[in-house]
């Protein structure tokens, strides 16, 4: 399957994601965590902490950051970079909101689906 880089896929309603929380999108290549901040922005990140693989979707969300539940590394939702003294980056993916629905960029999703 092919699609232009600006194709988006609807993965659910914004209201289905807890505010200052996250829901997970499952793909064949692992999970993507979709975060909703207190200001109702959305961000999509690989649901895997570069430290020891912890599920970032289960962390406490504050401002535009999330703290990994396993060992408290803090990541910027915008850039995926670890904050403070920790070094590491989480892949981030384009996400947006349209009419109360959360949309993710199809390009990377389809790449994940295609890889078996």
């Amino acid at each position: 399957m092919t699609g232009s880089p600006t194709d988006w896929i609807d993965i659910g309603a914004l209201g289905d994601i807890p505010r200052r929380g996250s829901r997970v999108v499952k793909t064949a290549m692992g999970c993507v965590a979709v975060f909703r901040t207190g200001a109702d922005e959305v961000f999509a990140l690989e649901n895997r902490c570069p430290h020891k693989g912890g599920p970032l979707s289960e962390g406490i969300v504050h401002g535009t950051s999330v703290t990994c539940p396993l060992h408290n590394w803090v990541f910027s939702l915008d850039s995926g970079q670890a904050q403070g003294a920790d070094k590491g980056t989480v892949p981030t993916y384009p996400a947006r909101i349209e009419a109360g629905r959360v949309l993710l960029d199809t390009t990377f999703l389809q790449a994940r689906m295609a890889a078996e």
Binding site: V25, K52, V102, R112
Partner: protein, 811 residues
């Protein structure tokens, strides 16, 4: 040869004198300390923070019973001196006892001046001098009105303290602006504005005419212009007069105060005097710094060493939270005097320097007092400032165009700059203490006394520590909750209660949080404090809980979870075991482990399967074991007299009752109980947070044990005779812990901080205990519920992915 020293008056000056004397020569004198107030030495200056609720009385006591006992000081508190016979060298107490002395020290302090207005002796007209006065003011609340006569330092602190408690306060001041001794009119105006913002009514140029009463109690103050100000309490804070009657009657030389020479000796060579009761070279004293200097001289004189009391220039700081005010020197207008004024009314900043012959002779700062010590140094040194005249008002950071650095001002201070005015401690004294090994505020305070009196120089002392130690010193950001605030856990807990903050947004807003929504450190703490203090008003926020509490299961290193159903008191049945085994097989649970808390742990459950496994366990009658919670974990038991030949009571029965009562409650950290059927203690109750040992005569309740990283035996809280009493005592202890401890302090850490004696006081008092139990039970009406059942019923979809493309790809 040990001489007898009798001290009349246990105020701050005599306290410091005794400290200096007994530290230098513990055996030179046998000391008897007499005090008309029924207590020992305390820091009277800190009555204002006690009034406003920022401190407790216990925190301001400077010398406790142990201190006197260790030094062999005989204490006669609550007794007044009725007569002094200087020929016989005896002192007679009001009760009739007579004490003889070799040396006598007067520390009788001052009496507050009570204006002889008609009605001044009505009930409800008080001064502001001692703890009793403070407690009268603290008894008022939002339904009361109070009038304070006197807009000076003390009157304003009284007004601000009561306003902080919600009282409707009016300040009456005879002069045209407030604090006219320290402030000029412009600074007085800014101060007035700040007080009005605090809800205090201010009337200057107001003359009191009469105090009106009803049934012997004050009801209003009548002013000259006919205005009537109704009030429930009237406080006079219009000045103090040295308390000299006893000295006068005994024939000592007395003017405005008891005359003393440079060695603090009165007209009688065996009688000394110190503090507010003295007059030295025509001057009397109302601020603490010179009293401490006098105290040093008294100690030396009593030991036969040379010492001279010298009066120095003074500065004052107003101890009203939110009103930053500093004044020093002489700032009256005059011939040959010039002013430099910096004014920024929108920011509430006013700075005025008074110069004479190119020297700074006076300074008044309101709103920005950061550089006050540097300017005070210029006043004391009297150095020529003509070179820096054009940038002088901007402070030390701007002399020579240096870049603005908050620590630069402190680094630039010379070693003889005074840091702590109350105790006369210079920067050099502090640096010497630091170089001698003092590496934190507590150590500096203990060694030098800096910041141990009024406390306003604390920030400055910390900056000196920072400048001297460099990277080795961490300014106490460590003491605050996290980077979102400078406040400590204790501050925030207290204000959540006193300011009735019932939501996180209220806390962030009212307490000035630096971030928009906290962080992973403070949000869980705040969530707990709010639900503990306001169970009916605050809505628990799952997004502010750690993963384990949000998912009601313990997350493991691979992202799977452990599920632990509750086994009340460690008892189970074949049906329960079958249900657990069935669930383990159905959900392919890789590991089944028996825990130390006497129950079974299913490890490796996938997050998506949690609601389903819960439903199955619920169907078998089991509920969440809260193995993941900062809450009640387990009540470990050994079988008692139901089976065991040594059992004295039904330990398992009691354990189950306790677990049924306490489960579901959230606590500052996990709580583990144990109940053993006899002193052989097979349930290991003596290392639990709360542990019960059953004995023939009843139940021994211990608390504050530990068996994790720290190992500690429980301390005995109480012995009771019935199960009902045991359950009550333990419930009250739980609630006391919930309401007062710092988040993440286990009970043993909390009890170490507050003291077991205080805990006992609370839970032994029938009324307090009943209140604690009632509040616990109220909280349980909200929070005692099985989260598994609730989640499985209402929230199951949140455990599933929002979208699953693995399935779609397969199509």
């Amino acid at each position: 040869m040990t001489q007898k020293l009798v001290v009349i008056g246990a105020g701050m000056a005599s306290g410091r004198a005794l400290e200096q004397l007994l530290d230098a020569a513990p055996d030179a004198y046998e000391v008897t300390l007499i005090n008309a107030e029924p207590r020992g030495n305390y820091n009277r200056i800190m009555l204002s923070p006690v009034l406003s609720g920022e401190k407790t009385y216990d925190e301001i006591v400077t010398h406790d019973d142990a201190w006197y006992a260790e030094r062999g000081v005989t204490c006669r508190f609550g007794e007044a001196v009725s007569a002094l016979d200087r020929d016989a060298k005896t002192v007679t107490l009001a009760g009739g006892d007579t004490l003889s002395y070799d040396k006598l020290l007067f520390g009788t302090g001052s009496n507050p001046f009570m204006i002889p207005l008609p009605g001044h002796d009505l009930e409800g007209v008080i001064a502001y001098r001692d703890l009793e006065d403070t407690e009268r003011m603290m008894a008022l609340g939002p339904d009361n009105r109070c009038v304070v006569i006197g807009g000076g330092l003390l009157g304003l602190e009284a007004a601000a303290g009561m306003a902080a408690r919600g009282v409707d306060v009016t300040v009456i001041h005879i002069m045209g602006h407030l604090m006219e001794r320290q402030l000029d009119e412009a600074a007085g105006y800014l101060l007035r504005k700040a007080l009005i913002d605090k809800g205090i009514t201010v009337k200057c140029s107001a003359n009191s005419k009469e105090i009106l009463g009803e049934n012997g109690h004050v009801k209003a103050l009548l002013l000259d212009d006919g205005t009537e100000l109704p009030c429930d309490l009237l406080v006079m804070a219009v000045g103090i007069r040295p308390n000299v009657q006893l000295a006068k009657d005994a024939g000592l030389a007395v003017g405005k105060g008891i005359h003393v020479d440079d060695q603090m000796i009165t007209s009688d060579p065996d009688v000394l005097a110190v503090g507010e009761c003295v007059e030295h070279n025509g001057a009397i004293f109302g601020l603490v710094a010179p009293l401490y200097d006098q105290a040093k001289v008294v100690a030396k004189t009593l030991l036969g060493e040379d010492a001279t009391f010298v009066q120095k220039s003074l500065s004052t700081k107003l101890k009203v939270t939110g009103c930053d005010l500093f004044s020093a020197g002489d700032f009256a207008d005059g011939e040959g005097r010039e002013d430099i004024v910096f004014r920024d009314p929108a920011r509430g900043v006013y700075k005025r320097l008074v110069l004479e012959n190119d020297r700074v002779v006076g300074a008044v700062f309101y709103g920005d007092t950061a550089d006050s010590n540097w300017f005070f140094g210029l006043i004391q040194s009297g150095e020529d400032i003509s070179e820096m005249r054009d940038t002088l008002i901007f402070g030390p950071a701007y002399q020579g165009g240096a870049a603005l650095d908050p620590m630069a001002a402190v680094a630039a201070l010379p070693l003889d700059a005074e840091i702590c005015g109350c105790n006369g401690v210079s920067k050099g004294d502090i640096v010497a203490a630091i170089n001698g090994g003092a590496t934190d505020l507590g150590a500096v305070r203990a060694l030098t006394k800096a910041s141990s009196s009024c406390g306003t120089c604390t920030g400055l002392v910390e900056q000196v520590l920072g400048v001297t130690l460099g990277d080795d010193f961490v300014l106490p950001a460590a003491a605050s909750i996290c980077g979102c605030t400078d406040l400590t856990h204790e501050d925030v807990r207290r204000m959540i209660k006193s300011r009735e903050l019932k939501s996180m947004a209220a806390v962030w807003q009212e307490l000035g949080w630096k971030t928009t929504c906290g962080c992973h450190v403070c949000r869980p703490a705040l969530n707990f404090y709010l639900l503990a203090d306001w169970p009916l008003d605050y809505l628990d926020d799952p997004q502010s809980r750690f993963i384990n509490e949000r998912r009601h299961a313990n997350i493991q290193k691979d992202g799977t979870y452990s599920v632990v159903p509750r086994m009340w008191g460690g008892m189970t049945t074949p049906d329960e075991l079958r249900a657990i085994a069935d669930a383990a097989e159905k959900y392919n649970v890789p590991t089944v482990h028996v825990t130390g808390g006497q129950r079974i742990d299913l490890l490796g459950v996938r997050g998506e399967d949690l609601p389903a496994i819960w439903r199955d366990l619920n169907a078998a009658g089991m509920v969440s074991g809260h193995a993941y919670a900062k809450g009640l974990r387990t009540v470990k038991t050994c079988v008692g007299k139901d089976h065991c030949r040594f059992g004295t009571q039904d330990s398992t029965g009691l354990g189950i009752q306790l677990e049924k009562k306490l489960w579901g409650s959230w606590t500052p950290h996990k709580v583990k109980l144990g109940v053993s059927g006899c002193p052989r203690n097979c349930a290991e109750a003596t290392c639990k947070d709360i542990g019960v040992i059953c004995v023939d005569s009843g139940f021994q309740i211990g608390v504050a044990g530990a068996a994790g990283m720290d190992v500690k035996e429980t301390e005995r809280l109480a012995d009771v005779t019935t199960e009902a009493e045991a359950i009550d005592m333990i419930t009250a202890f739980m609630q006391l812990y919930r309401e007062n401890a710092k988040y993440l302090d286990r009970p043993y850490k909390w009890v170490a901080k507050v003291g077991l004696d205080w805990v006992k006081e609370q839970v032994f008092d029938p009324e307090t205990r009943a209140g604690l139990i009632a509040r616990f039970e109220l909280s349980q009406t909200i929070y005692q519920k099985d989260p598994w059942a609730e989640e499985a019923a209402k929230n199951a979809d949140v455990y599933q992915p929002i979208a699953d493309f693995k399935l779609e790809a397969a199509e």
